[in-house]
């Protein structure tokens, strides 16, 4: 298992120096963050409800700019990144949102295919094939044509996960990805993440459920009072 931080072979995938985030004129939700995610690492991000887990993930998937501090992603300084170059970076990041954010007017299958469609780097047949395989894998074969409003909570969550991993991202961020599924499915999904990690994907999973890190033993990033502390994991 790899440790966070720069590994010997090159610079970290993501590096933050002294980063802070505030919403509007409110207090800083995140303060003085120093973080390095080495290529191929796997972290759990923990913290109480409202500690800032989702906020930190939103910085990592470039949907928000930090209020201060330096950030490097995939070797690019984000401070002087022109807006038109950001979409290309985002395509290399997969995200499972805490509230799923599926498009209600598209079927489960179409939702999953969306990142490939937007990246426009694959022909339609190949997309169909990959999507079908993944949909089956997360146990939604029967619901492939259903639209999100007709899916159960756990089914939506699995669609969201499938969409996040479909484009084999270099960085995968998942916010409470097993919060709405039963234990058996939760384990199945964790196996998917472990497999992707072994293929080289860097992974960060935010969760309030401390049994997960305890079980899998990857290192912890713990948020408290807006500050980050690093702990190495338990088992594994």
């Amino acid at each position: 298992m790899q440790q966070q931080g720069t590994d010997g072979t090159g610079e970290p995938l993501v590096a933050m120096r002294n980063v802070g985030l505030r919403y509007g004129t409110g207090p800083e939700v995140l303060r003085d963050l120093d973080l390095e995610l080495a290529e191929g690492s796997f972290h759990f991000l923990t913290g109480r409800s409202g500690a800032g887990k989702s906020s930190l993930l939103s910085l990592l998937h470039l949907s928000r700019r930090p209020s201060r501090g330096l950030m490097r992603v995939f070797g690019h300084d984000m401070q002087d990144m022109p807006a038109r170059d950001v979409p290309v970076l985002r395509r290399r990041i997969g995200v499972v949102f805490q509230d799923f954010r599926l498009l209600d007017h598209l079927s489960a299958q179409e939702n999953v295919a969306l990142p490939l469609k937007v990246a426009n780097s694959m022909d339609a047949d190949r997309i169909d094939e990959i999507v079908q395989e993944l949909i089956d894998w997360v146990g939604l074969g029967k619901q492939a044509q259903a639209r999100p409003p007709t899916l159960s909570g756990g089914e939506k969550q699995r669609v969201a996960i499938a969409r996040a991993v479909i484009s084999s991202p270099r960085l995968l961020l998942a916010d409470e990805p097993t919060g709405n599924v039963d234990q058996e499915m939760g384990e199945r999904l964790m196996r998917l993440f472990v497999k992707l990690n072994s293929l080289g994907t860097t992974i960060v999973i935010a969760t309030h459920d401390l049994s997960l890190p305890a079980q899998y033993g990857y290192p912890l990033l713990h948020l408290e009072d807006g500050r980050l502390s690093h702990e190495s994991g338990g088992a594994a």
Partner: protein, 284 residues
């Protein structure tokens, strides 16, 4: 598997914006048609008035047939007609009563000779011919048209104002419909950006959507408008006074009205693109 990332077709504004655009286009087309038709009618009057002159000869010992012959040979003249005494009497009837039966001695009517000039020809030859004959006066039919011209001009102004209001309203609708679609689709747009869609990719979809709505609305309003104009002016010309003979838009007028949907569609496309890109550029 066809993926239309934005559910713009299901956007509520898609359902009624085209019909508003259609109604506005219909009004605009009718107003423009009225304005153009009135324009060519009054132009017609002007032309008729300046091409047509009347020679009034105080009856004395003038040899009318000789005069007619003389005038007819002028290059500028295309037609000439000596109005019979009965017609002159009829024209005077509202003023003088039934003078046809009145003794010629008691009311010596003037002889009237209608002269139609070739289009654009000047009256100078004619004026030269009669310059030294004081019993002959040359009248052009301008004076009595003035109040009608006033009235038609007023109607034309109203028509232009209505057309302008309609065009303004169409632009307003387009701008607001785009903004409304963007607000309604805010979450979808945000998500598309987060999974890596470029701004141009998103703008293109709104653009196409705006184009379709506006083109549909424009055509659905302009075509009935053209039909209404055609039949209304035709009906007016058939059963109305001779005055209304020129009441139809010119070819350029017809084309201008028919171009309305294209203009509307272009405005919509452009508006959609600018609106969307401006809103998207605000952030990463």
């Amino acid at each position: 598997m066809s993926v239309s990332e934005l559910s713009l077709d299901r956007d509520p504004s898609s359902r009624f914006v085209p019909w508003i655009v259609a109604a506005l286009s219909l009004m605009c087309a009718i107003a423009l048609g009225t304005a153009f038709a009135l324009a060519s009618m009054t132009a017609d009057w002007g032309r008729a008035a300046s091409d047509q002159v009347t020679l009034r000869v105080a009856t004395g010992d003038t040899d009318i047939p000789a005069l007619v012959d003389q005038v007819a040979r002028l290059e500028a003249v295309s037609r000439i007609e000596h109005l019979p005494r009965e017609q002159v009497a009829r024209m005077l009837q509202p003023w003088l009563g039934d003078v046809a039966q009145v003794d010629t001695a008691l009311l010596p009517l003037p002889a009237l000779i209608d002269v139609r000039l070739k289009p654009g020809a000047s009256t100078s030859e004619l004026r030269a011919l009669i310059a030294d004959r004081s019993e002959i006066t040359l009248d052009s039919a301008d004076a009595w048209l003035a109040p009608l011209q006033d009235l038609a001009g007023l109607a034309r102004l109203v028509a232009w104002v209505l057309a302008a209001v309609a065009v303004g309203a169409i632009m307003l609708v387009t701008v607001f419909a785009t903004r409304s679609a963007l607000v309604n689709q805010r979450q979808t747009v945000d998500l598309l950006r987060l999974i890596g869609a470029a701004d141009g990719y998103i703008a293109k979809r709104f653009q196409r959507h705006g184009l379709r709505l506006a083109l549909f609305g424009g055509i659905a309003g302009t075509v009935p408008g053209l039909i209404v104009i055609f039949f209304a002016t035709a009906a007016a010309r058939l059963q109305g006074a001779a005055l209304l003979n020129g009441l139809t838009p010119s070819v350029a007028g017809w084309l201008a009205i028919a171009a309305l949907p294209l203009i509307v569609a272009l405005v919509a496309t452009f508006t959609a693109r600018v609106t969307v890109l401006k809103l998207l550029r605000a952030s990463w």
